[in-house]
């Protein structure tokens, strides 16, 4: 592999990885918020 190949591999994995992790966190946050809203809705319904 050429020097450019190593540079692309390094930047690709690191920047891509950060982007994936940020997207993963955003997705988990959305799911957790929806779950909490659903639970709150269930409590209101029970009342």
């Amino acid at each position: 592999m050429t020097d450019a190949g190593f540079v692309i591999a390094a930047y690709g994995v690191i920047l891509g990885g950060i982007g994936l992790y940020a997207a993963f966190l955003a997705r988990r946050l959305r799911i957790a918020r929806q779950e909490l809203e659903r639970l709150d809705g269930d409590v209101d319904e029970a009342r």
Partner: protein
Amino acid sequence: MKTRILGFAALAAVIGAAINGLFVVPADLNQGDAQRVMYVHVASAWLAYASFGVTALAGLGYLIWRDLRLDALALAGAEVGVMFTAFAIWGGMMWGRPVWGVYWQWEDPRLTTTALLLALYVGYLLLRRLTDDPARRAARAAVVGLIAAVDIPIVHFSVLWWRGLHQGPTIGDPTKLLHPSAPLLFVTALLAMLGAFTLVWVYLLIRRYQLARLDWQLEEEARRGRVRAVRQAAVGAAGAEEPAR
């Protein structure tokens, strides 16, 4: 909303710093283009230290004040730190192969202590899964986080304490603070990348902290639901045992 703005600012800063590091700054005379890996490699390593520092301090804070918000912050620091440590190792391997001729060398103290740091904090994250009790989990994690943090200065100073393949500090050496061994253009590009990565780091830390707090609330709800179910079952059983009149 403010966090979202921070996210966009971090994204723009990383794109700018990456373009600068990849296309604007000239290649190194000796190492060629491979040297460009330094910008993301060093920035990742510094933020790994910062993350585990947050974990250790938040853990210590938890042991003193017993506030679960500090435990959420400690968890955020550990997870983000594991990610940046893995990226620092990956970047080091991608830089090491064209420059040293090897991806990895176990005899090198910097490489080995960094691998140990990664293993310690992966262990920290696994340890947190052993119990559902938030207070017990936070206390155990705080102790482990503090013990693991001992490795941070060992990693940092390993290049000064022992001989190895890894180069010495570029600008971290106090004796070279005003006269870094790298050209100013490279140091500026490195600082730009570090600034951009720091924005990303703050953004990820806030998001992971928010998630930890939400997960904790969901755990609480689940626990309350379980308690309610047990109570209802107990009341039902008592009603069934009551003699018919």
